[in-house]
């Protein structure tokens, strides 16, 4: 035990003396959360639009007013001819143009049918889709109001409730995602690097000639990074709850349990990488390209897995971050208990045990 403590102490010295790395390790999650929270948002607010309204009647003006009043849109200019639309898009002044027909109100009242054209800048398809959806919703709302006074044979009113995230805040999805990314980075990459560094320096050899058991060396390396990850998780949660207003609905203990499980999986992965490589650069590259990217792409945090082609969906099952992301999301945002995530926990535990056994075995073989 004393031996083990002196080992852990040494690892802490390594981490604490390397101020720059320590700063990055502790600062990175904070910066990521702030960037995702305030800068990178896929919510659409105050998008600039233009209106071409040749009819200028009561209805069209009223609808235009409603569009302008919504928080999604900001009417940038009133256009006067069809030609101006193309010009406005080319200049990048607007993302959406709303075009009324010549006699909007007359069509509406006399033929019971009027058309409004929505033209969107689809060079960014997601934004274009979102904007046309919002605009359509505003128009439907307007239509509902004018038809309320009349008798229609059939009407279906949709009433929408957004569960768990009524304001549709992006932060709800990226906070669990950033937690997965940060843990992956701190644990996998740093473990891999710190073990490989000892190989490079020749200190690993000296330790292997000593009576210390390889398992102890490995565990002593894991302890400080496990603690560091917990600090990171805590700072991410504090920031999310108090700065970004993301709720922590479920049990903190359950979330911590899931995080430790994922951290151990990452540590085992890092160890596996370290036994396959012999230079710090290679270890870093493998960690970044082999793990960081799949974590971003295939965990469901950036892109919905359901929309991916089948082979990718299958591959995504191998990404440990996917399961952790689901656990964190379910516990934090939905406030669900263990009953809802036992499957994910089981899969992640299986991965952890498999990777841990494999990496310790490989570690021993290499050193034997």
């Amino acid at each position: 035990m004393k031996q083990f403590i002196s080992f852990v102490k040494k690892e802490f010295h390594h981490i604490l003396r390397d101020k720059r790395t320590l700063f990055i390790l502790l600062g990175m999650p904070v910066v990521q959360i702030l960037i995702f929270g305030f800068a990178l948002t896929n919510e659409v607010k105050n998008s600039k639009i233009a209106v071409l309204d040749p009819s200028r009647d009561l209805s069209s003006i009223s609808l235009t007013g409603q569009l302008d009043a919504s928080r999604y849109f900001d009417i940038q200019e009133e256009l006067h001819s069809y030609k101006d639309i193309g010009q406005a898009f080319r200049e990048g002044k607007i993302k959406l143009a709303v075009v009324f027909p010549q006699n909007f109100e007359r069509d509406l009242l006399h033929f019971n049918k009027a058309q409004v054209q929505l033209i969107a800048d689809a060079s960014d398809p997601n934004v274009a889709t979102t904007l046309t959806n919002y605009a359509t919703a505003v128009i439907m709302d307007f239509q509902n109001r004018i038809t309320r006074n009349r008798k229609l044979p059939y009407t279906i009113d949709t009433e929408i409730r957004m569960l768990y995230n009524p304001q549709l805040k992006g932060a709800y999805t990226f906070v669990p995602g950033v937690m997965a990314l940060v843990l992956m980075l701190v644990c996998t990459m740093m473990t891999a690097i710190t073990v490989v560094r000892e190989k490079e320096n020749g200190t690993m050899e000296v330790m292997l000639v000593s009576p210390v058991k390889p398992l102890k060396i490995v565990m002593a390396k894991a302890v400080p990074y496990l603690l560091l990850s917990m600090v990171n998780i805590a700072s991410i949660l504090l920031l999310s709850v108090f700065v970004l207003d993301v709720p922590l609905r479920g049990s903190l203990a359950l979330l911590a349990f899931g995080s430790i499980l994922f951290t151990l999986t990452c540590l085992a992965l890092g160890l596996l990488i370290s036994s396959a490589t012999s230079s710090q650069q290679t270890a870093m590259f493998i960690s970044l390209i082999g793990l960081f990217l799949p974590t971003m792409m295939l965990s469901g945090f950036m892109f919905p897995i359901e929309n991916m082609p089948l082979p990718l969906q299958v591959v995504s099952n191998l990404v440990p971050a996917k399961w952790y992301y689901r656990i964190a999301g379910a516990v934090m945002i939905k406030g669900l208990g263990f009953g809802a995530i036992w499957k994910e926990v089981l899969i992640l535990s299986g991965m952890m045990v498999f990777l841990l056994v494999l990496s310790i075995k490989k570690f021993k073989i290499r050193l034997a």
Binding site: S6, K10, N201, T203, V206, L208, V209, V212, L367
Partner: protein, 248 residues
């Protein structure tokens, strides 16, 4: 095992694929000897040494170190030996005192032992005022002397040195060898690989490996006489010229 043999190898062999890195070597080392293990790069010195230290399993043959079998009792061997690799092996980002503490700690030495011996060692190396400085700030020669002191800090019966003086100036090398003599005088058997021939002269006995086999084994004087050579350099060249393998 007779009482005056501390390391013995019998037909010790290591094969990687179809490459016989170490090809059936046999020798004995006596307690308190400085045993020089010479050979060109790629001759198999390091592989042989790694097998004796328990870092690598022999493919065939037998060997005992400090009376323990390399196959069956590697853990006991590890407790009885010290090791210094050719890569200089202290932690640069730890202080001198922390390095000593750490390495002594992994051999399970008591706090009292460590404290007393650290003070004596720092005194002996004239490093007392530098004890709390990072190893990074020491000149290479000092690092190497410190690494050697750390390798024998836990008072092993045998210390293995793998090309310990690479890249060090002649004056420091001389001082380093004085430390080796002192260790041998204190009863520690020294097993050292080198390719500096002047260092070979300092050894009690020298073995010369060529292409995985031991070509010669005797005292430096004995070798010079039997090969009719004026210096160890000449001895080495005469033997190594037969080599088929080239270095690295």
């Amino acid at each position: 095992m007779s009482s005056d043999v501390i390391i013995s190898a019998n037909n010790l062999t290591k094969i990687f694929g179809d490459f016989r890195a170490v090809d059936g070597i046999s020798f004995e080392v006596h307690p308190g000897e400085i045993f020089g293990f010479l050979g060109a790069n790629g001759a198999g010195k390091t592989t042989a040494m790694r097998m004796l230290c328990g870092l690598s399993m022999p493919s065939s043959g037998s060997a005992t170190v400090a009376g323990f079998d390399v196959y069956k009792e590697p853990e006991k061997i590890k407790r009885s030996i010290g090791y210094m690799s050719q890569k200089f092996s202290l932690y640069e980002d730890l202080t001198i005192r922390e390095n000593i503490r750490f390495y002594a700690g992994i051999y399970g030495k008591s706090d009292a032992f460590i404290k007393e011996k650290t003070a004596a060692l720092l005194e002996q190396l004239h490093l007392r005022s530098e004890a709390n400085k990072l190893v990074r700030s020491l000149p290479l020669g000092w690092k190497q002397k410190l690494a050697f002191s750390v390798a024998i800090f836990h008072e092993p019966r045998i210390v293995f040195l793998d090309e310990p003086t690479g890249g060090v100036d002649p004056v420091t090398r001389r001082e380093f060898w004085n430390m080796i003599y002192a260790a041998a005088g204190a009863g520690i058997t020294v097993f050292v690989t080198t390719h500096y021939m002047d260092e070979a002269e300092y050894c009690s006995r020298v073995s010369i490996m060529v292409d995985g086999k031991i070509e010669a084994l005797d005292t430096p004087a004995g070798l010079k006489q039997s090969l009719n050579a004026a210096s160890m350099d000449e001895v080495f060249l005469k033997l190594a010229r037969k080599a088929v393998r080239s270095g690295d």
